[in-house]
Amino acid sequence: MSPRWAPSRRVSGGGRLLARHPLARFLLRRTAVAVLLAFGVTLVTFVLTNVVPGDPAAANLGQRAIGDPAVVDQFRKQHGLDQPLPAQYVTYLGHLFQGDLGESQQTHQPVLTDLATAVPATLELAGAAIAVSLVIGVALGVVAALRRDRLTDQLLRVVSLLGVSVPTFWLALLAFYVFFYQLGVAPGSGRLAPGMAPPPYVTGLHTIDAALAGQWPVFWSAAGHLVLPALVLTAYTVGLLTRFTRSAVLDVLGQDYVRAARAKGLPGRTVLLQYVLRAALVPVVTIAGLAFGALLSGTVLVESIFAWPGLGAYAYRSATTLDLPAVMGVGLVVGIVYLTVNLAVDVLYGVIDPRVRVQ
């Protein structure tokens, strides 16, 4: 068996070269898997919307019309429900590709329109939270690993276990009560102070849009409103990243090349920064992608409490009112965002660590 990185003797053209290059092969394979999974995600939402909740005709027509077989037949024909399921799936996909995710029964707007305003709000929140979690989580994880089995490590273990154990929705309620209601140090709910006009739409992220427009009072208001919900969301991910960074750093600390670096007398700081951290960050990148999924889950439970008009609050409202098209829209969008993030992480992983590509 020849190693996969061995240069081919029969390289005839650019395309062939591309397919032979280990990194290109790796990227192609990961992208193909992600695209297949994206179709899988649509299949899941299709099955859940069209097969599980009984008869769509009954759900949409109401009690009176159900009594009249002619009306039901008409409805079925009109919506393609008389077609076999695979044909219905193709129709469903066709609608999806045209951006038709159905209409929310609650807002009476196309789900896509609702999502277009909700997604940037959530990305702003989740982005802030993942940035803060990465900084704190990696720092705490490194400290825990360097102080292995000492008191600091034990304390950090308790802190990170607390972080992954605390119910996010409860922490949000507690934080809102203490910092807004009792202490009055946090601004109230929402993305901006009441009555403040949002900045001109560029990215949909209020902080960036306000900064671009030079509206500093709006910027500070947006940033201030971001702090508390973002911090609540970080509890889980900081716990996750601390534990994972700790074990990643411990793995690397045991490697021969680290021992060699120590043995030849390099200062501890050089060993840590240039030998240990660089290698340990590779697996941490993967976990950051998974942590992002945890954050998206967290937003569903947190946003409703802070009245943050994002995906989570939208999901909460549609789930509590059993607004199925809206719930499926959220599932679809979040599934695809999550897949994209993990594809990006995979690619980054392959770029950073050459060993991954040849596996």
Partner: protein, 291 residues
């Protein structure tokens, strides 16, 4: 490297070397006792609406009363009867389903492996709460459907871990020699493979009790689980969000969730460390996913 480090830790009896495991075990056991004995302990009927409404915590009602005049303490205690058995049942079922599917995938390989693992991949393509929420909403809001929804998102991690372990074991000499002696696949799985995968799976299951509790109470918080009169912790926190200034309505049930989840995570964490480092690492990677 200090060679002669005096270790106080090693002089302690084994249990005390892992104080977190001891605390976790004690708190977990306490909650189990509460779940069994709550009719004896609870000062009031958890469903009776006969007390003064929205009374603050005090000597009369330790945890206060809620918006319908029910005793919060009694409701929190009775809540253990909903969340803990359901979490245990959920974990047992995902262990069984995920374990059997994963073992078949790992042992027989080929199309069984492909089918099971691709379905697992599909579940992993969603963040857990989102998929559980979508499934629970599609099935209709009820506690049974919430359990089913959590089951849908929970089994694949068991399938992955089991498959990984079984693939490693399948070609070991003691398994192969058994097959050569004429063991059937089923016999080989039961006699040679099962004892070797049970340990890591039980650790994963212990850690998963906390996750299952969080997911279930989260779904109830969203209104997709327990129906209103039921004393369920997540639903009680949701009621607390309606009365921001009456902090006790939401805070105490949340504390109950936190202590239960923390107890099982303390236990699971200690068990994971006790396993050999290699399996501990693969298990760790599997657990970190759950969000």
């Amino acid at each position: 490297m200090k060679v002669f480090r005096f270790s106080l830790l090693e002089r302690l009896p084994p249990a005390w070397r892992r104080p977190l495991a001891v605390i976790g075990g004690a708190v977990g056991a306490l909650w189990l006792v509460i779940a069994v004995a709550c009719p004896l302990i609870a000062p009031h009927d958890p469903l009776a609406q006969d007390l003064p409404r929205l009374a603050g915590p005090g000597t009369a009602y330790w945890f206060g009363t809620d918006e319908l005049g029910r005793d919060v303490l009694s409701r929190v205690l009775y809540g253990a009867r909903v969340s803990i058995p359901l979490a245990l049942l959920l974990v047992a079922m995902s262990l069984l389903i995920g374990g059997v599917l994963g073992a078949c995938a790992g042992f027989f390989g080929r199309w069984i492996d492909e089918t099971v693992m691709r379905i697992a991949d599909l579940v992993f393509a969603f963040p857990t709460v989102i998929l559980a929420m979508v499934v629970a909403a599609a099935l209709g809001a009820s506690l049974e459907n919430a359990v089913l929804a959590v089951l849908v998102v929970a089994w694949p991690s068991y399938a992955r871990v089991t498959r990984g372990l079984v693939v490693g074991l399948r070609t070991r000499e003691f398994v192969l020699s058994g097959r050569l002696l004429g063991f059937s696949a089923w016999h080989s799985l039961r006699v040679d493979i099962l004892p070797n995968v049970l340990g890591p799976l039980l650790v994963l299951a212990t850690l998963d009790i906390g996750t299952a509790t969080l997911l279930l109470s989260g779904l109830s918080f969203l209104g997709l689980g327990a129906k209103p009169p039921t004393a369920e912790w997540g639903a009680m926190v949701a009621a607390g969000t309606q009365q921001f200034d009456m902090w006790w309505i939401g805070v105490f049930p949340g504390l109950a969730i936190l202590t239960v989840v923390l107890a099982f995570n303390f236990l699971g964490d200690a068990l994971r460390d006790a396993l050999d480092p290699v399996t501990a690492r693969t298990l760790g990677a599997e657990k970190e996913r759950v969000g």
